[in-house]
Amino acid sequence: MKDTAAPSTPRSSNCIWDAVIVGAGHNGLVTANYLARSGLDVLVVEKNDWIGGAAVSRELYPGFTYSNCSYVCSLFRPEIMRDLDLPAHGLQVLPYEGGAVFQRDGGYLATYRDHEANRREIARHSPRDAENYDRYARDLMRHCRFIRPLLMRTPPDPASFKPRDLSEMAYLARQFLALGADEAADMVRFWTMSISDYLDEYFENDTLKAYMTVAAITGTALGPMSPGTAYVLLHHYMGDVDGNIGAWGYARGGMGAVSQALAASFRGAGGTLRENAPVARILVRSGRAEGVVLEDGEEILARRVISNMDVKRTFLNCMDPTDLPEAFLGRVRSFKSRGSSGKLNIALDGAPEFPALPDGSPCLRGDLHFTDSVERAERAYDDWKAGRWSADPFQDTMIPSMIDPTMAPPGKHFMSCFVQYCPPKLRNGADGERDWTDNDRDAFGKAVIDQIEDYAPGFKQRILHVEVRTPRELEAEVGLTDGNIFQGELTFDQLLFNRPVPGYAQYRGPVPDLWMCGSSTHPGGGVMGAPGRNAAAEILRSMRGGVGNRAEMRDAYPVL
């Protein structure tokens, strides 16, 4: 069935692809890669003139490369990197060294990649916490060990009686029961607790706790005191760089390097990528997905359609509701994807100076935080609930050019500020809501810059260019509904077999030959690639004997 035309040749509309993938985000590209490597004839269509979705590097100011959306790398599954040979296609992850939390009284707490160095620094703030840090790290690793293999497994449907679902449920039950009562209790508590309560069981120092909440609230519409946030911490913690669990790094050349490597690998496998090809509608004829219609009216036919878009965009914007079951549509409508974050990308004339840090501190090469108590982070969340951006925002700020010289001209720097909280709509009066305006966006940007200036006097003078992104920009550019960076919130009602909606957690859409592979599916967001890989596995599985050479697909690596 394989079409022999050169991948770059435009097709006529009567040719039928084995698969068309809507959206060239990292998950779409991962799925595309596995399918192409299994001998399928795959087309990826992307609405923008750049690829990568939220894993993208762009030059918006001469000489500077911005990681516009996602900005650090750790979650991307090493198994996928190997399967798809991404290092050979240019992907290099540079681990970064720790970071710092600046305290309002002029002090700071440094963090390091090295456990012992970290422990010594914690001891400077609280000897008791330094003791407990060992126990904390051990316990977290234990939870990691349990959860990580589940990332690369298709969730079972607990309401199904199919042998495959029953046996997967039995597998999960066995895993859980094998833990024994004590560990099982620790696990369930960890899954359901708030990060604030969880940290209180180990630590007393507020700055340390504030630092540790970072990963638990990043990207979620929850505050550190909301139950369920401890799990989000794990979601961010279970990544690794070169086997160092919990370590983070920069993709050399920005996060777009991940997408570029995926695209290069895909093209190398014979796949076709079309930019500037926005999909208007997914075609359903005689009860099955048959292709897509582009905005200019071009029809592209395919044996299967795979959406990398979030579920709301896929089913509410790009499909005819009469093609979908009503109950399914209702669940998609109530799928929660409220954005909670914004981003500032800043070109700097020189490195910012933080007087609190000793000269030559390695902390500047890591993540910088200006929130020194859990309470401040929680109050920032209260602002989100009330429909306004946080006046005292919580930031995860990086200067990737400290490590990666390709990001900015010599002596100059690119700074990435991830900011919470930032609501998708702003409160207007008592009950109303309104959209963001350019003025709002600028005021939000100013609040963030002012906060940095407080800790780095003279910072403002070094700014050459700022890109401010609120949920509005994220939705408009990347296509993330309501600007949610995970294509859907990470609460239990939207995790595992509930993700994206109950009964549809196995990457199949409600229409035959329609599939989902984005972060809206299990195991969710972050530049992880697992949803894309799992979707490909399910698609290939559905083809039974139809695949000639199935691409190599490694099982999850164990956590040692």
């Binding site: 607990p158 309401a159 859980f176 029961l177 094998a178 833990l179 024994g180 009562a181 004590d182 099982a184 209790a185 620790d186 369930v188 508590r189 359901t192 607790m193 708030s194 309560d197 069981e201 929850l222 005191m225 909301s226 139950p227 369920g228 109950a327 109530s334 929660k336 309470e375 929680e378 109050r379 209260d382 609930k385 609460t491 239990f492 009602d493 077999f497 509930n498 909606v501 109950p502 009964g503």
Partner: protein, 515 residues
């Protein structure tokens, strides 16, 4: 130590202590119940708070009384009468457009338009179906994952699983989706009426350290409804009358009750618990000691931390006990007018889910809510014995107020009282003029008065991570403890407090080996 003259000593004569005592005594054991207070009942008490005015001192409604206990002890034969067998709830609106839920949690509703009434019927049906899954779990000893937890319990667990399957595909999926969801999202999704949304948000979070937007909050509404399927009752003579009827029933079953007998030590010979020592110095021996006191108090204060393994000490210290509710008792010289609301109903001030969330925001930072949400009952509307003729009393549970207030309760209590009264005035104009006496119990007062650590009514927050085999902590969740002969039977154990007696009854079953 003399030869034990009792099979069991029960520390605490609250409803759980009485339930446990009744069960054991009926099984032929020689039981002694010791209570620090002058009357048994614990959180079920009715007392005079101002000359001539009486009120339920803590709990003021019955939502989960254990059916097994009622059937076996028959407190009706000892004077228990229900003044209200099924109390309606009115969600107050400040413009007088109230909403009333009649029957078991709104079987029929007044004040909703037809569409919303249909939406409510659908949601209510779903809530109650899901609640049915949990109900059988209340009455079992929580099974431990990984080990058999007694055949009967596994059976109950299996039954719950089967019931879940029987719900059918869609409903089962909904159950699993909603199990850890927050109540706010559910009411926003399924309802349009703010009064109804506010009421559900309030009921889900009442007595918990959660706001309606906090994940896991819907589960606590299920938990609440799993008792009596939403039926609310109130005994004639108040909660104290319920307690004394139960106490009489327990005495009739052969147990001995001693009040004003505070236990200050659980005695052990190093291998097992052997009895208790009272504050007076008196020592009483028994084959087993059953504590309905707070689990942390039981181990760390009564038994002594030195006899407890370090891991358990840590777990005990990590049990979260954060009271969130204050109680206000008002003596009124006339009937308050909540814009026409029926005073015989449970009155709730929680105009919207956001109001409840905003009230919650403050307690996170150790502040009380300046616009508290609250549940109000008016005992005098049912029973004239609570106040002089023509006078009334109100019993109010107001949220949220922390156990430790920033700046201290000494300085803050007047402001809290003013905030509650202001909220009342907005819903019952002129009520301030009627007030002749006030009693405010902050969570700190409640802690001091009832030995409830942290002011937590449930001896440990009701929260998903503190339920079933994690309540009060893994290792002591099956009522037995690592110290042979020492048992837990209080609200701190599964399935929690709330004047039900279930924990006490379950513990007794476990002690008798009947589980």
């Amino acid at each position: 130590m003399p030869t034990p003259s009792f099979d069991a000593i029960i520390i605490g004569g609250g409803v759980n202590g009485l339930a446990c005592a009744g069960r054991l005594a009926q099984a032929g054991q020689k039981v002694l119940v010791l209570d620090a207070a002058d009357t048994p009942g614990g959180g079920a008490l009715t007392a005079e708070f101002a000359p001539g005015y009486r009120v339920d001192g803590l709990a003021h409604l019955v939502t989960h009384l254990d059916a097994r206990m009622l059937a076996a002890l028959k407190p009706e034969g000892h004077g228990l009468e229900w003044a209200v067998g099924s109390m309606a709830t009115t969600a107050l609106s400040s413009d007088g457009g109230h909403l009333t839920l009649n029957g078991a949690y709104g079987e029929n509703v007044q004040g909703l338009d037809e569409d919303e009434a249909q939406r409510w019927a659908a949601l209510r049906g779903r809530l109650l179906r899901h609640t049915e899954i949990l109900r059988p779990l209340r009455e079992i000893t929580p099974p431990l994952p990984g080990k058999g937890g007694g055949k009967g319990n596994l059976l109950a667990l299996g039954r719950a699983g089967l019931n879940l399957r029987r719900l059918g595909r869609e409903d089962m999926q909904e159950f699993l989706r909603m199990i850890l969801i927050n109540v706010h999202d559910v009411v926003q999704e399924d309802l349009t009426d703010d009064r109804l949304r506010g009421l559900l948000a309030f009921d889900a979070t009442l007595g918990t350290f959660l706001g309606p937007r906090s994940p896991n909050s819907l589960f606590l509404l299920w938990h609440r409804l799993s008792g009596d399927a939403g039926r609310i009752r109130w005994p004639r003579g108040g909660m104290g009358a319920l307690a004394s009827a139960l106490a009489e029933a327990v005495r009739a079953a052969g147990a001995e009750l001693r009040c004003a007998a505070r236990v200050d030590r659980v005695l052990s010979d190093g291998d097992r618990a052997t009895g208790v020592r009272l504050e007076s110095g008196e020592e009483i021996a028994a084959r087993c000691v059953i504590s309905t006191a707070n689990p942390r108090t039981t181990f760390l204060d009564l038994l002594g931390a030195r006899q407890v393994e370090t891991g358990l000490v840590r777990r005990l210290n990590n049990i979260r006990m954060r009271g969130t509710a204050a109680k206000l008792h008002l003596a009124l010289k006339g009937a308050p007018d909540f814009r026409g609301a029926d005073l015989r109903h449970r009155l709730v001030i929680a105009p919207s889910s956001d109001t409840v969330e905003n009230a919650f925001n403050h307690i996170k930072y150790g502040e009380f809510s300046p616009a508290p949400v609250m549940e109000i009952t008016c005992p005098t509307a049912h029973d004239s014995g609570f106040a002089p003729d023509g006078h009334h009393v109100l019993s109010i549970v107001a949220q949220y107020a922390p156990y430790s207030l920033r700046g201290g309760w000494e300085a803050g209590r007047d402001a809290l009282q003013a905030a509650i009264l202001k909220q009342l005035e907005a819903h019952a104009p002129g009520i301030g003029e009627l007030v002749t006496a006030v009693e405010l119990l902050t969570p700190a007062d409640i802690a001091a008065r009832h030995g409830l650590v942290g002011g937590s009514w449930h001896q440990g927050d009701l929260a998903v991570e503190q339920m079933l085999f994690m309540r009060p902590a893994v290792g002591i969740a099956r009522y037995a403890t690592p110290m042979p002969g020492l048992w837990l039977a209080g609200a701190g154990s599964h399935p929690g407090g709330g004047i039900s007696g279930t924990a006490g009854w379950n513990a007794a079953n476990e002690i008798l080996g009947a589980a």
